[in-house]
């Protein structure tokens, strides 16, 4: 099956920042992304868990975007603007996609 090269960017970010991130992504021309829940995590700022939490503080989400390779820089700039002062992780992987016209 015909596949096309693309990049998959994964941004683990605080739930309170999610809306700002998606706004920034859309501004940067990234219109497709998928948000996955995160139940706990650990990093330089310690360990956290969503268990029993009422507020979204400390909660994180994982935002995944697949983009054409030439768009990845714009995406990273946009993402970095949002996560810069915040905890969180941005990673980029190579991937191949079906239906390239969608990206």
């Amino acid at each position: 099956m015909q596949t096309h090269k693309a990049k998959r960017v994964e941004i683990v970010i605080e739930a309170v920042m999610e809306e700002r991130l998606s706004t920034a992504l859309i501004k940067a021309g990234v219109t497709g992304f998928t948000v996955l829940p995160v139940i706990s995590g650990s990093g330089r700022s310690g360990h956290w868990s969503g268990e029993g939490q009422v507020s979204r503080v400390g909660g994180m989400v994982s935002v995944n975007c697949i983009v054409r390779p030439d768009r990845v820089d714009a995406l990273l700039d946009a993402a970095f603007g949002v996560v810069e002062r915040h905890i969180g992780v941005v990673s980029v992987m190579d991937c191949e996609v079906l239906r390239a016209e969608r990206f």
Partner: protein, 326 residues
Amino acid sequence: MQGTLALAMDNLTSPIILFFVLGVIAAFARSDLSIPEAIAKGLSIYLLFAIGFKGGASVASHGVDGTLALSLLAGLVLSFALPVIAYALLKGMTRLSVTDAAAVAGHYGSISIVTFVAASSVATTAGLSPEGYMVAVAAVMEAPAILSALWIIARSSPASAEMEEGLIREILLNGSIVLLVGSFLIGWITGDEGLTLIEPFIVAPFQGVLCLFLLDMGLVAGRGLREARSVLTPGLFAFGVIMPLIGSVTGLGAGLLIGLSTGGVLLLMTLAASASYIAVPAAMRVALPEANPSIYLTLSLGVTFPFNLTLGIPLYLAVAQTLTGG
């Protein structure tokens, strides 16, 4: 005085406090007991819904007097002013950075709705009937403290806290404020008729739900304390106990000035004494990401909340009763 002690003891052995303690113990013992996130949120939605509606319905049946506006105003002023006091105290008592101190201070101007609920229960048990609109006062006090905290920061380092567009809307339209105020208004509009309809849902089971919610809070607070024990310096700990006392005194002053009932004074004292653990932390993560969340969460949920729950509220009640002659 003996009455106060007895009441404090009674309070200490009430189911809600014991369930909080159970949660703390379970967390410290590293039991895997936990309340799913969705259930914890559901419980909190229930509490806001019930308490807002009952407050509104009570206003509908008792009518509004001139003190309503004054009380709301007092709430506003306290919420704006308390962070300034808290900040000064923190700067004196601890070595927190400007950012951390301002973030913590913001929590103490705002309120904890569960503490408010606990005080309402104590009031009812003591035969008092606080003004129903105190719920609205609670709602009004949620947000201003956040602005105060940001203003404190902006004064000392103008660059770091530029007020991001959208943040104010986010703070004011915070889910718990909207649900509390919305339920309050609906309770007010539908009055006794509305209350009759949903009373079996929001009145009878309330205390039981509260127990479960406090179990969850105990678990979260215990886990926080276990993991962040190290941030709790003696100075911070002392602040977590002294600040609510100071807050309660300002609430007392305001309540007496306005002429609230004994129950109303108790609730205003409690609101002023309590520290936010939902609305303010979320706003701080957005506006002051450099502030360390374990400091303000541990202090608010792990020190001040249990202090108010166990010793604070009975004390405030005793003072309110003595000074209002209620």
